[in-house]
């Protein structure tokens, strides 16, 4: 029972928030009844394929589509020139931004003069089946004149570097400085200074369902665009502009989405090309990204090069950090470039840092454009910071955890203001969290203190085991708002309409739980309608681990308003004072007595009927809308501790133990939270050891199948041990913080810390991700050669473990 103050409606119910309620989403998905983009079938639907650039940089001399057009089953073969009559611009607008118009680095709807990465779309083929469309795409002839490429972002900064696109004056898109405090003084007064150069490689999001677009021409010329996106409203606004459509002539819907992980946060050329072509041809069109297209056209992330210098006092307390960060932006910038800003501002994480200066350079290369992949700049920042912490520990002969402990922000300083600004311009204020306790708990669970003893024993047997750790803080719940409308239906069931976008995380269940508790109904009686611009006029979508915080808060407020309204209406109808009423089991009950009114009945009365009396003092409709506004973030934190065993002759790393502490504030559904953390960790393990999106020097991608680009599978993992703290966020009405990325962010840093620790006898420093076996082997061999006293060679030892 929840007691509530007099001013609030009295609600009597067993709360569902905080319980592992089975997900409302599951039934269709388990039985094959889910409806993902490629499952949508329409009468007379035509299928599309794209001709994509096979070269990383070239001038397009000629596009010959005649042979393709002449093929059986081919409906149309379209270049940018063909689409222009239906477009207001051939160039994409800057996504997720209020800035009107294009910027000089957004992609083109289709390339017609120049291509700047392998995979850039050039021609759209429309045919009666995808098979035929691919046949025809192979027959399109494009004549290219090759142009020089810029493949390494660091080299691409040089004034004499080849330009990524000939329209550019420089490959440097943007340079800025992030910092505060007197860095010079910090270094001048330092007891120790350490420095490192770190690099992190790009990977892909690889949701198991790729992207996809379906443009449906409806009677009356309405255009309905289905897209597997995290951003239906952004697409809606963008398409209005790009296609020059009135708002009522367009609708954007997201069907079931088979995972997002960042890449579906972007708006893509295909999402404009298909609707434009559909309007041109007056036919409904479908395009589904296949896996090879994912590799060469979906957003990738994490190529960054950090040079870091740290100044500490004699007690290993941080005095200052300075350095530079080069961010590889790929060929275009489809959105405002926020990842390096995220990274540069997030570096100091949970630590107290008096002075900071980071020079950031955002540089184009002839590779797939870069935007967010799960973590969005944070994994790199945490990697840089946590590797620096290990460096300090090694340099000063201190325990790695101890160095961190001395620098963590203590709980009594919460809320803690970092001397930095968030992207909204608001001050960066950590709202809550107990970082030292988090670290303590994680270390205790993982047996950190006993480890050196175990490590010594293992080494005596010739086994290289190691332990590592990483802390992370992630700003979640980015605003400015998310929409939430709660409406009671005529049958008493409740619907939530939100602009938040479901992409498999269990959003509907969590929102239903929040709503259910306010209205004293079971969560199963709540449905959630999301990702449909005709049902929800306002919305942002899925990014920055934001949706539960923002949409959840709106739904919470709206549901409470509905509860108040129901009680007010019942008071008027039943002629009983409001304080005599309570909401219980979907009914407003008179507390002393057995009179009650169901929510459905109240909804019927509040819909109004001609000639009938209307309850006094209430507005029509048993519904409420809330757009909870925020400019601040809710900061979640995590501490991961990892144990590994390394086999030096193979360069192989086996993760033998993984302990993750996560604090994402109040957990609406702990089962869902745990699932997010586990999935996130595995993504981070992939970044540390497996996932490598390779390009050769001519910027040809060399990993374009799942045989070459390795995703982590079930056999490569230990059981993941998760621990949860729940420090509520004071910044939102539900106390929650986001959890979608906190599993990923510290994972690579923790794994690499453990690998380095395992190889301590070789004195190896690892400053990169990923470290595939051959790289590790090379590091070990180099260390062996430069080492005077060699550790025992494995070949003299008894047989070791099986692979």
């Amino acid at each position: 029972m929840t007691g509530t103050p007099a001013s609030q409606p009295r609600v009597v119910t067993r709360p569902s928030v905080g319980r592992p309620v089975p997900r409302l989403e599951d039934l269709p998905l388990l039985t094959g009844a889910g409806r993902y983009l490629d499952d949508i079938e329409l009468p007379e639907l035509l299928h599309c394929a794209f001709v994509r650039s096979p070269v990383a940089h070239a001038r397009i001399e000629r596009i010959d589509v005649e042979a393709a057009r002449a093929m059986d089953g081919v409906h149309a073969v379209l270049t940018l020139a063909d689409l222009m009559p239906k477009l207001t611009s051939g160039r994409m607008p800057l996504g997720a931004s209020p800035i009107k118009g294009e910027n000089s680095s957004t992609p083109f709807v289709l390339a017609d003069r120049e291509v700047a990465y392998v995979g850039e779309p050039i021609v759209l083929v429309v045919a009666h089946s995808r098979y035929l469309a691919e046949d025809a795409a192979a027959q399109v002839q494009v004549d290219f004149t090759p142009l020089p490429v810029a493949s390494d972002a660091r080299a691409a900064m040089a004034p004499d570097s080849p330009l990524v696109r000939t329209e550019l004056k420089s490959n440097v898109l943007n340079s800025f400085k992030v910092g505060f405090g007197d860095v010079e003084a910090a270094f001048a007064g330092a007891a120790h200074v350490f420095s490192d150069v770190l690099s992190q490689h790009r990977g892909c999001g690889h949701s198991m369902e790729g992207r996809g677009v379906l443009a449906e021409i409806r009677p009356g010329d309405e255009l309905c665009v289905w897209s597997s996106t995290q951003m239906p409203h952004d697409l809606y606004y963008m398409l209005q502009t790009m296609l020059g459509l009135d708002q009522d002539a367009l609708r954007v819907v997201t069907p079931d989405v088979g995972g997002g992980f960042g890449p579906k946060y972007c708006l893509y050329p295909e999402e404009v090309a298909l609707p434009a072509a559909a309007r041109l041809l007056r036919r409904s069109l479908k395009w589904v990204e296949d896996r090879r297209e994912t590799f060469i056209s979906s957003i990738q992330e994490r190529d960054q090069y950090w040079s870091v210098e740290v100044a500490v006092d004699a007690e290993a307390r941080l005095l200052g950090i300075r350095g530079s960060l080069v961010h590889d932006q790929g060929a275009y910038a489809p959105k405002p470039v926020n990842l390096p800003y995220n990274g540069a501002t997030a570096m100091s994480g949970p630590y107290i840092l008096p002075a900071y200066s980071m020079d950031v350079h955002v540089v184009h290369t002839n590779k797939v454009p870069v935007s967010s992949v799960r973590g969005a700049g944070y994994p790199q920042a945490v990697f840089a910071m946590e590797r620096t912490m290990d460096l300090i520990a090694a340099g000063m002969g201190l325990d790695r955890a101890e160095v961190r402990r001395r620098n963590l922000i203590p709980p009594e300083q919460m809320p803690y203001t970092k001397k930095l600004k968030a992207r909204s311009g608001a001050a960066m204020v950590y709202d809550s969290g107990d970082y030292p306790a988090s670290q303590r708990e994680a270390l205790a669970a993982a047996g950190w203190d006993d480890f050196p003893e175990r490590q010594k024993r293992a080494l005596a047997e010739g086994r290289y085991i190691g332990i590592g750790m990483a802390n992370a803080v992630k700003g979640t719940g980015r605003g400015p708002f998310e929409s939430g409308v709660v409406r009671v239906g005529q049958n008493g069931k409740v619907s939530i309409f939100t602009g938040a976008a479901a992409m498999g995380q269990g959003l509907a269940t969590a929102l239903a739980q929040i709503c259910a508790d306010q209205l004293a109904v079971p969560p199963e009686d709540v449905t959630v309608i999301s990702g449909d611009t005709s049902k929800t006029p306002l919305g942002l979508g899925g990014f920055a681990s934001r949706q539960l915080v923002t949409a959840g808060s709106s739904v919470h407020l709206a549901a409470r308003a509905v509860a108040e309204k129901a009680i007010r209406a019942a008071s008027s109808i039943l002629e009983v004072d409001e304080d005599q009423l309570e909401l219980r089991e979907g009914h407003v009950h008179v507390r002393d007595g057995n009179r009650s009114l169901g929510l459905g009945e109240i909804a019927r009365m509040l819909r109004g009927a001609p000639g009938y009396a209307f309850p006094a003092g209430v507005d029509p409709g048993l519904e409420a809308s809330a757009q909870w506004r925020t400019d601040s973030l809710a900061y979640a934190n995590a501490c991961h501790v990892v144990e590994v065993e390394v086999e030096p002759t193979l360069g192989s790393v086996e993760i033998t133990r993984y302990v993750a502490l996560n604090d994402s504030g109040r957990m609406i559904n702990p089962m869902i939270v745990e699932g997010q953390v586990q999935g996130g960790i595995v993504h981070g393990i992939g970044n540390a050891l497996y996932e490598f999106m390779g390009y050769d020097d001519s910027c040809q991608p060399v990993t374009t199948t799942f045989q070459e680009y390795l995703l982590v599978t079930a056999t490569e993992l230990p059981r993941l041990e998760t621990i949860f703290r729940e420090t509520p966020s004071p910044k939102n009405p539900i106390g929650a913080k986001g959890v979608g990325e906190t599993g990923t962010i510290p994972a690579a840093a923790a794994v690499i810390s453990a690998v380095e620790n395992a190889l301590a006898p070789f004195g190896i420093r690892i400053s990169q991700t990923p470290v595939p076996p051959q790289s590790l082997f090379r590091l070990i061999e180099a260390a062996r050669q430069s080492q005077a006293g060699q550790p025992p060679r494995r070949k003299d030892l008894p047989d070791d473990q099986e692979t």
Binding site: D38, E209, G258, G259, D290, G675, Q678
Partner: protein, 161 residues
């Protein structure tokens, strides 16, 4: 075009397909059984796993014509007609063995085969069985736990159909 007849989930189906049509596309687009998913179309992700004549197969690596006359089982056939979930489906729900659900049909069909062969697998056997199925969402642990829960439950009840 080839006329293809087959038994899917106990019901006869027929349809026409080009020689090159994969079994996956035939199921999904010709027969409209869209529960079987395509995650890679090159035989690595396992999303397209169905049972053909009782054994698991990647339906992106089979031609539809090759399934002529076959007995095929897909995710659509797992639950009872009255909607009662298959124990494995129920366990997935209880243990949060799915998030976006895209890998789920392939996971389920692979594990159905495993549990028919090995009703009480160890954790390692479960992980080995799904080593050819990629899930980007869950980190696999909840899928493993769901499977072990079914195996455990079947054991305690001792009820083998």
């Amino acid at each position: 075009m080839y006329e293809i007849e087959l038994l899917i989930n106990g019901r006869p189906f027929r349809g026409a397909a080009e020689a090159r049509t994969t079994l996956a596309d035939f199921l999904r687009h010709t027969l409209r059984l869209t529960g079987t998913h395509l995650g890679c179309e090159h035989g690595v992700c396992g999303a397209c796993t169905v049972l053909v004549d009782g054994v698991s197969a990647r339906s992106c690596l089979m031609l539809a014509v090759q399934a002529d006359g076959a007995i095929v089982e897909t995710v659509e056939g797992l639950a009872e007609h009255d909607g009662t979930l298959h124990p494995l489906q129920q366990a997935f729900r209880d243990a949060h063995g799915l998030q976006c659900g895209f890998c789920t049909p392939g996971m389920l069909m692979t594990l159905v085969e495993l549990l028919r062969e090995t009703p009480h697998p160890s954790e390692d056997e479960v992980r080995d069985a799904i080593s050819g199925n990629i899930c980007r969402c869950t980190g696999y642990q909840s899928i493993v736990d769901a499977t072990l829960a079914v195996a455990g439950a079947a054991g305690t009840e001792g009820s083998e159909p």
